[in-house]
Symmetry: C2
Amino acid sequence: MLNRVPPLVPPPGGADGPVVDALRFRDGMSRVAASVHVVTTDGPAGRAGFTATAVAPVTDSPASLLVCIDAAGRSARALAANGVFCVNTLAVSDRALAEAFAGHSGLSGEARFSAGRWGSLATGAPALETSLVAFDCRLVEARLVATHYVVIGAVVGVRLGPATTALAYRERGYHGL
Amino acid sequence: MLNRVPPLVPPPGGADGPVVDALRFRDGMSRVAASVHVVTTDGPAGRAGFTATAVAPVTDSPASLLVCIDAAGRSARALAANGVFCVNTLAVSDRALAEAFAGHSGLSGEARFSAGRWGSLATGAPALETSLVAFDCRLVEARLVATHYVVIGAVVGVRLGPATTALAYRERGYHGL
């Protein structure tokens, strides 16, 4: 079971004060390379999915990862209501899926799943058959930080796909790694 | 100011239940590519630093990022006590620093800073002069999730360094991107 204690560390300097502006932060973040994932969900609130790079492992005891997700979007509501999600790490050959699930091809909701071969693991969240790895997760916590949720999932299934070139994002463009 | 509300979403399936074992999770995570960072701190608890790949942007309003950090380590205690940290995104030419701050060269604490050119931005946390980008952060929250803290920082400074090749980690090895 994940510990769910209150914050242990009060901010010594206080939580408020000037921060850099959004543009400066985004310019800085463009220097950071990341894998590209499609995060999906399915259940009573329906099927939904979105492209994410803000994914990180939290601990392996118990196996847990986190995803940051725009709190205002339809995907966040569906994911929270369904209580399950699947993180699909994309191969470079699935770049078109990254663009579709980022909304760049004008598709939303269910229609985004018209491309790609989709199955599922334990939770029922869509798992992409061509993903490098799929992490099937049970939602443990969604913590609101201003505009985004930090969603923590307990990893109930891992499927390793082909060990091919990963799709990475850096300097506002896609790369293979 | 960052919202610091309790979890909004109770886990529909409950927080408990079987998860994949640590080895399986790590095998899965080896497929995920990530930038390599050295996260540093300085202040009353002294100077410390560690290599991290579990770094993600949270929101740009206000500019915030997160770092996952082993709760048992000296760096976590120093970071929490100092209340500030700096995320230094490494260029491929600083691979030796990644290894030193991961503890692979047998150095700990202050001694890790014997290599590299170090300055600081606003908070006093060490900023690497050759980093692709340095994010100077005020600690906002450190939330314990089992063995690790999810540390959220408000970004009070961003310094863009040379736009050279990034150091990335994937399949348990270093790569340039």
